[in-house]
Symmetry: C2
Subunit: 569 residues, 2 copies
C-alpha cells in the first residue's frame, strides 16, 4: 500500500491530554481517533495490527481445541437475571429497552450467553470437555476511561469458556490455557508478561490468574518475590508480619494529646516510629450499613479488596458522626464502642507498648498490649503487602511491589453459571450433574496498546514483526528523481509479489517528514532508496529498533529484506 493513500493525519506534537506514551503515539501516528469517552475508531494501521494479534490468539485457542463461535453483543436481560448478575452488577452494565419495552443489555462478558448456547448440546458426560471462544466487541460503561486503549468502554475481546465434568479436568485444561496465554504474549512480542494470582471479582469462582505487563503506566499493584515464583495481585496478596514482642510490657497509660491525630503528629509527639502505633480505620458496610473498625500497625495500609472479600460485601470509608459513638481521630481498641464490628490485622499480633486512640477527643493511650488489655482475640490478614515484606511462598524478605497492566485473565468458575442457568449432563452413572466451567479473556486493543507501551522510543512505536501493520517500510527519498522512483517501484512490486507486506512512501516530501512518519508507523524494517545510495548502487536497510543499519548492493536488496522478514527481525 502507498503511504500517500493511507487515511489519517500524523503529527509531531504530543497531545496534552495523553498521560501515557502509547496513548500519545497512537494519536500522533493516526492509529486511533477519539469518538467519545472510552470509545475510539481505529485507522487502517491499527486494524492491521488487530488482525495479526487476533490471528495469533485464534491459532493458540484452536491448538487447545477451542471452537470459535459468536455470541451476541446485545443480550436479553433475562439471561443475566438467571445468573443473578443483572442485579449484582452496577452501572458499568448498560441496560436499555427495545421497541417493545423488553429489557436488554450490552454484553460486557458472556458467561451467561455461552451457557445458553451450549446448554442443550452437551447432555451426556461423553460430550465433555469442550471450549468455545469468540473475538468480539464488548461494552463496559467504565466510570473512568483512561490512557487511550488501556481502559476503554467499547473494546474487542477474546473470551473463552470451557466446560468440564471434574475439577481435575478443569485443572488440566486451565493449565493448558495458562500455557497458551504465555505463548500468545510471547508471539505478539511481550514475553515479559507474567502471570499473577488474582481475585475473581464479579466472575465468581476461586482460582484465577491475571497476566500482567509490569509498567509504571499500570493501575494494578503486583507483589512479586525476588527469590521464588510467588506473584500475586495486591488485591489478594497475603501479608505476613513477624513481630518480636518487647521484653517489658509497660502499663496502659492515658495521655493528653491535644490536636494530635495523624500518624506523623503522633510520631513526633511520642518521639517514636509508625510501627509503634495501633491505627484504626473505619468503614461502612454497603450490606447492612453497619460500621467496621479495622485496627492495624501504623506502618501498614488497609487492603480494601481483602477486607471486602472477608466481609462478603462492598464497603466505603465511614464518615464518623456523633451517632456512630466513635471519636473521630481518636479511635482505639481499648474500651471501644461495642456497636461496631472490630477486626485486628495480623500486623498487630505479638506486639506490646503500642500507642493507640483512647476513644475520646484529645486522648491516646501508650503501653497498649493487646493480649493483656483486650484479651484473646483473633487476627485476620487485611493489610497491603509491602516492599521488602515476607514472601508467603518462600519466607524470604524479598517481596517487591510493582505497577502492572492486566493483559488477560483466566478464572475457574465452578458451577456458578451452569447451576443458576440449569445446565446439566448425565454422568457415567446416569446422575444429573452441573458442568464445571472455566473462563479466559484477553483484550485485543489493550494488548496492542501495551505492546506499544513496552516497545517504543521518543519517535514512535517499535512494532514486533509478528504484529506490525506492515513488514517493510519502503522510502523513496526524492521520489521526483526518476531513477529513485523507478528503482523503488521495482522493489515495491518485487517485495509485494513475494507476499511481503510493504508500506511504500513515494510522496514528494522531505526525507525528514518521510522518516518521522516511518518512525510513527513503527514498521520493523525500513528500506531507503535515495539518489546518494543509487550512486553507490546500494540501498539502505535499517531496523526501527536501531539494531540494524546496512548498506547493501541493490541487487541483493529484495532477498536480504525477505530474509530478515522471515527471521522475524
Amino acid at each position: 500500500m502507498k503511504l500517500g493513500n493511507l487515511v489519517g493525519e500524523r503529527f509531531k506534537e504530543r497531545p496534552s491530554d495523553c498521560v501515557i506514551d502509547s496513548h500519545a503515539l497512537m494519536v500522533r501516528g493516526a492509529y486511533i481517533k477519539f469518538v467519545a469517552s472510552g470509545i475510539y475508531s481505529s485507522f487502517a494501521p491499527l486494524k492491521r495490527i488487530f488482525h495479526k494479534i487476533e490471528a495469533i490468539v485464534r491459532e493458540e485457542m484452536d491448538k487447545i481445541d477451542g471452537q470459535e463461535v459468536s455470541l451476541p453483543v446485545v443480550l436479553p436481560a433475562s439471561l443475566w437475571e438467571a445468573s443473578g448478575r443483572c442485579a449484582s452488577v452496577g452501572q458499568e452494565l448498560v441496560r436499555f429497552a427495545d421497541r417493545n419495552k423488553a429489557p436488554y443489555l450490552l454484553g460486557m462478558t458472556h458467561e451467561e450467553a455461552a451457557v445458553q448456547l451450549v446448554r442443550e448440546s452437551a447432555l451426556s458426560y461423553t460430550a465433555y470437555p469442550f471450549m468455545i471462544y469468540q473475538i468480539q466487541t464488548k461494552f463496559r460503561d467504565e466510570a473512568r476511561p483512561r490512557a487511550g486503549l488501556i481502559r476503554v468502554r467499547e473494546f474487542t475481546m477474546k473470551d473463552a469458556y470451557s466446560f468440564h465434568t471434574s475439577q481435575k479436568d478443569l485443572d488440566r485444561f486451565y493449565g493448558k490455557c495458562y500455557q497458551a496465554y504465555q505463548k500468545i504474549y510471547e508471539r505478539v512480542g511481550l514475553p515479559e508478561v507474567i502471570a499473577v494470582a488474582s481475585g475473581a471479582g464479579i466472575m465468581g469462582g476461586d482460582i484465577s490468574h491475571e497476566f500482567m505487563l509490569l509498567s509504571a503506566a499500570g493501575e494494578d499493584s503486583i507483589v512479586i518475590c525476588q527469590s521464588c515464583q510467588y506473584k500475586a495481585n495486591m488485591e489478594v496478596a497475603e501479608n505476613i508480619v513477624e513481630n518480636q514482642k518487647d521484653e517489658l510490657s509497660y502499663p496502659l497509660t492515658q495521655v493528653y494529646t491535644p490536636d494530635v491525630q495523624t500518624i506523623d503528629d503522633l510520631c513526633s509527639f511520642f518521639e517514636t516510629t509508625p510501627d509503634r502505633l495501633c491505627k484504626a480505620v473505619a468503614y461502612r458496610k454497603e450490606s447492612d450499613q453497619g460500621i467496621v473498625v479495622l485496627l492495624l500497625r501504623g506502618d501498614y495500609e488497609v487492603n480494601e479488596a481483602k477486607l471486602k472479600s472477608k466481609l462478603g460485601c462492598e464497603i466505603r470509608p465511614a464518615e464518623i458522626d456523633d451517632k456512630s459513638g466513635l471519636a473521630a481521630g481518636y479511635i482505639g481498641p481499648y474500651q471501644l464502642n461495642a456497636s461496631s464490628d472490630v477486626f485486628f490485622d495480623r500486623s498487630l499480633e505479638n506486639t506490646c507498648n503500642l500507642i493507640c486512640g483512647a476513644n475520646k477527643a484529645n486522648y491516646h493511650y501508650s503501653g497498649l498490649d493487646i493480649s493483656r488489655d483486650i484479651g484473646d482475640i483473633g487476627y485476620i490478614d487485611v493489610a497491603k503487602a509491602v516492599d521488602g515484606g515476607i514472601c508467603p511462598g518462600c519466607g524470604s524478605h524479598l517481596l517487591s511491589v510493582s505497577r502492572g497492566i492486566e493483559l488477560g485473565n483466566i478464572f475457574q468458575l465452578g458451577t456458578k453459571y451452569t447451576r443458576s442457568m440449569g445446565m446439566t449432563y448425565l454422568d457415567e452413572n446416569g446422575q444429573q450433574q452441573y458442568p464445571i466451567m472455566g473462563c479466559y479473556g484477553i483484550g485485543i486493543g489493550r494488548l496492542a496498546a501495551c505492546i506499544c507501551e513496552a516497545r517504543h522510543d521518543a519517535f514512535g512505536p517499535i512494532w514486533p514483526m509478528a504484529i506490525a501493520p506492515w513488514q517493510v517500510h519502503l522510502c523513496a527519498v526524492r521520489a521526483d528523481n526518476i531513477e529513485v522512483k523507478t528503482l523503488a517501484d521495482r522493489i515495491y512490486s518485487e517485495l509485494t509479489n513475494r507476499s511481503i507486506e510493504v508500506i511504500y512512501d513515494d510522496r514528494k516530501v522531505s526525507a525528514g517528514v518521510m522518516f518521522s512518519d516511518a518512525d510513527l508507523l513503527g514498521v520493523p524494517l525500513r528500506v531507503i532508496i535515495s539518489p546518494r545510495n543509487i550512486k553507490e548502487n546500494k540501498c539502505e536497510v535499517v531496523s526501527r529498533d536501531k539494531t540494524l543499519s546496512l548498506k547493501i548492493d541493490m541487487d541483493q536488496c529484495v532477498e536480504t529484506v525477505i530474509g530478515y522478514v522471515r527471521n522475524g527481525k
Copy 2:
C-alpha cells in the same frame, strides 16, 4: 476437527416456527441458536463460513483500494444529531443513556462515524479519492425480525464509505464497487445475484443499486425486463401505461349503485372490467396530517414508496370519517371535496368512458372523461409496475415481477453527510468544498443464509467450496473396526497436513446418523472409509451436490481429494 467434539445438537425434525428452508436447516444443523427475537448466537460451522465470506469481501474491497478501519458499535448521539438522523430515524434506532446521562445509540449504519473518522485527514484535494470500510456488528431494532438470519436485529455487516472531489470520480468508483460486488457474489457461490436500481430510503442521495437474490422467500419485489437489461426494485420502478382513448366519449351520467363499493362489485354491476374503472385511494400525510386522494385505473395498485417519495413524507392509509368531507367507498374525481390534495396516476391518461365514485353514498358516475370533465390536469407515476407491463428501458411489454432478497446495496450519497458534519477540503483553486460520498453495504449473515437458501436440498445445505465450513467430510463407517479406524486416521492426518480442512467423523454411530449429519453440515466433498470399501482397497468420494460419486483406489484417495478441493469442486 473431529465431529464428535463439535458443539451443537443436530436434529431431524423441521422446527415449526421456521417459514423458510435456510432458517430450518441452520437450526437443524446447529449453525445458529436463538437468543432473542432477531438475535442469534453462531456455532463453529457458521463462524467458519463467516470467516471465509469475510475474507472474500475483504480481498475484493482491498483490490479497489479500500482501507479496513473500525468504527464503534456504540456512538454518541451527538454524531447523529449533526446529520439530522437522530430525529429522522424511528424506533429501529436503539437509544440509551450512559452512566453520566449522556445520550448514545447503537450504530445501525455508520456514515456519521465514517465522516468523523476522516474529517481532519483529507483537507486537500490531493488526498482524494479514498475508501474506508469495516466488517462489524450492527444493531437495528426491526419491528418484525423474520426467517432466521434473513432479517435480524443484530447483524454483521461490511460497510464501506468512499470520498470524492467530483461526481465523475464518484461515478467511476461506484462502477468499480458495483463490479467488486458482482465478483463477491460470484466467489461465494451466488453468481445469479442481480443488481437492480433502487430507492435510497433513509440514506439520502440519488443513484443506488441493490443486489438481489431472486427467491420466493424474499420480501422485495423486483421488476425485470425479459428483453433488455432493465432491473429495478418495485419501489422505484417506473410504470408506463399506453391507453387508447375510445372513439366515442359518452356523457357523464350519475348512476344509483346501492351497496356497490368494491372493484369486483362494480365490474359485476356495470358488466365491465377493472381497467374501465377510475378508483380512488386516500392517504393521510404524516407531515401535516392532510389527506391525499390518489386516482388510478382500477387494475393498478398504488406504489406507496413512489408516492412517499413524491410527497417527501411518510403516509398511512386514511381513515375516512365525516370530518374529511369524503364519501367512503364512493370517492371520485368529479366535484371532489377541494380540501384534499388530489393526484392522478398516469394510468388514467388518455382515457374516457370510465366509471368512478360520485362523492356521495350509493352513487357512481359512468362516462367519465377526465380531460373533458376535470380539465387540464397533470399525471404522475405512482402505480406499481405489473407483469407484462411496458419496460422503461426498451419499450417491450416484457416486464416481469419477482420476489427477491436484498444482499447488498450501493448508494451515491452526495454531500448530505459531509455538509451537515462540516467536512471540507481545499480544491485546486484554494476553494473550500464538500467531498461527495458513496456508501456500500453487504450483510454477512444474510449472505450466508441466502447461499443456504439458494443451495440446499431436503437434507441440508450444499455449501460451495469457497465458503464451506470445511472442505472435506471424512466418514469412518464402523470406526470400531480397527482397519477402518487406522486408515481413516491416516487419511485425516495426511489431508490435514496438506492444509485441507477436514471434519472427521469417527464416532461409533450408524452410517445413517453419520450421513444425515454430513448432509446437515453440507461439506462439498465426502470421503467414506468402510469395511466393504476396504475389502476392495477402495474409498468412496462423493460430492454433497450428488454430481460426483466415485470409488477410487485407497492409495489415490488423498491426491484425488486434494485435486477436487483445489478445483473448487
